[in-house]
């Protein structure tokens, strides 16, 4: 029996790059909302497998390239 757990994937914000444009919150509302200044609020950064594709799309859409997936 395989006991290896699937790698946990987290969504990470580079705050020095983020400008609060908000595309991530539009494309990935399941994980991302916005604070009062428009910056992403991500209460739980873990990305479930079911949202993996959506997360990848949101990351690719960020005009500031401020998001990435981290597998730690």
């Amino acid at each position: 029996m395989r006991t290896t757990a699937p790698t946990a994937t987290r969504i990470v914000v580079d705050w020095t790059a983020c400008d609060g444009r908000g595309l991530c919150a539009e494309l990935l509302p399941e994980l991302v909302s916005r604070d009062e200044w428009g910056f992403p609020l991500i209460p739980d950064p873990n990305v479930p497998a079911s949202l993996r594709d959506h997360a990848t799309r949101a990351i690719a859409a960020c005009p500031r390239l401020a998001l990435r997936l981290s597998s730690t």
Binding site: D14, W15, T16, G20, D35, W37, F39, S70
Partner: protein, 426 residues
């Protein structure tokens, strides 16, 4: 216990001595000759031996985070590329003076330590990163003298850090030494892997390096005979505020904090609270402080840690809220302005604290600053928002009675002196 006072340093730095770094001859070791007479040359030892000493001694970083030195050395060694080593003496904490003291009074121990980590990591470049409160010209002259004496295998470049609270933050330092501005960067990967100009970089606080220089001469067992089993050795503390003899003291890890106040001459007035760890640190009531020890395990239930050794005693009759307000305003101004939550949130928080300190108001002001706090914490490239909120939240707890007074439109302040130092913009 010996207590010595060093009269020929800047008036705000006096020295009480009973440790490894302070030693019995406070003034003399500025000169290379005196340093060599006291300690001799850097012992001949290979990279493995230095790493072994760092491991066996249990030496941890003295810049605030307390990370074991040997693990940083191993990480740099494991990374690809020629290593760079940096002695960090930027000391952005306004109430900290111990790094400046070391660079002024024990520069050769720091520089010996820098050579030792260069040896351990097989580094080909070394930097000394300092703020402009230390005499850069004197350090440059001392480096030239060491070069002439054949002490330094790797030559050292002195780099001045901009005068800012976060200049000494590791990724800000790396950015500055790479030719950029001294602002924190998004940390991925670690600087031990890709640091200055993409090369593996060891950044170590100047006190850590000075201790390593002594360990290389006296051995890991000598170091372990001081402090505790969990936290061996000594640490420098910058003690200020309401004590009779403010200055730099050196004590073993695990020392009762009541003894720390005694060494600093005892309180100069009845105390209400003590700030431990600087402006990213934690306020404790005078009672909590006096009953705790200088160790991570003892302080962590109080939400505090030894940090980089800042201790500021606040007397009864000072308004804790006014002190917090001045510092939070300063910290808000010191935001690098790169990360939205910090840039937008800290000034708003500072505004709420100022309003409570000056005008009172109702409980909504307190709730609003705490709510904003939950938005800024954990949402930045560095820990500036997190540290600023630790300072504020612990202050609101310790000065709870003062907060209530202000909400009732009063203040307990009986004197107008300000206690916590705020650097003047130059």
């Amino acid at each position: 216990m010996t207590i010595l006072f060093d009269r020929d340093v800047q008036a705000d730095i006096e020295v009480a001595t009973r440790g490894a770094l302070l030693g019995p001859t406070p003034a003399a070791q500025r000169e290379l000759r005196a340093h060599l007479a006291a300690h001799g040359r850097i012992p001949a030892m290979d990279a493995r031996t230095v790493l072994q000493l760092a491991t066996d001694s249990g030496l941890t970083g003295h810049g605030g985070a307390g990370f074991p030195l040997y693990r940083k050395l191993e990480a740099v060694l494991a990374a690809r590329g020629r290593a760079i080593v940096v002695a960090n003496g930027a000391e952005g904490e306004p109430a900290s003076t111990k790094d400046r003291w070391l660079l002024t009074r024990r520069p050769h121990l720091v520089l010996d330590g820098l050579q030792l980590v260069a040896r351990a990591t097989k580094a080909t470049e070394a930097y000394l990163y300092v703020n402009d409160r230390v005499p850069v010209a004197a350090l440059t002259a001392e480096l030239a003298e060491r070069q002439r004496a054949g002490l330094d295998a790797v030559s050292v470049t002195v780099v001045a850090a901009p005068e800012a609270f976060i200049s000494g933050e590791e990724s800000a330092l790396v950015s500055h030494l790479s030719g950029g501005s001294a602002l924190p960067r998004f940390k991925s990967p670690r600087v031990t892997e890709r640091g200055v100009r993409g090369r593996p970089t060891l950044v170590s606080n100047v006190e850590t390096l000075a201790l390593l220089a002594l360990i290389a001469r006296r051995g890991a067992a000598w170091f372990r005979a001081m402090g505790t089993a969990d936290a061996p050795g000594t640490m420098l503390l910058s003690v200020s505020g309401a004590v009779r003899r403010p200055g730099i003291i050196e004590v073993g890890h695990g020392t009762p904090l009541a003894d720390v106040l005694d060494i600093a001459g005892g309180p100069s007035a009845p105390l209400q609270a003590v700030l431990l760890g600087g402006y990213h640190g934690t306020w404790l009531t005078a009672g909590e402080f006096a009953n705790a020890k200088l160790s991570r395990s003892d302080l962590s239930p109080l939400g505090a840690s030894p940090g980089a050794g800042v201790v500021v005693a606040l007397a009864e009759g000072a308004c804790g809220l006014a002190e917090i307000s001045r510092v939070i305003s300063y910290l808000a101004q010191q935001s690098a302005g790169q990360c939205g939550p910090c840039l937008n949130g800290l000034p708003r928080i500072a505004q709420q604290v100022r309003s409570l300190a000056l005008k009172g108001g109702d409980r909504r002001v307190v709730n609003e600053m705490l709510r904003l706090g939950t938005i800024v914490v954990g949402r930045g490239a560095c820990h500036h928002p997190d540290g600023s909120m630790r300072f504020l939240r612990s202050g609101l707890r310790v000065f709870e009675a003062e907060v209530e007074l202000h909400l009732a439109g009063r203040c307990s302040r009986t004197f107008n002196d300000v206690v916590l130092p705020i650097p003047v913009a130059r």
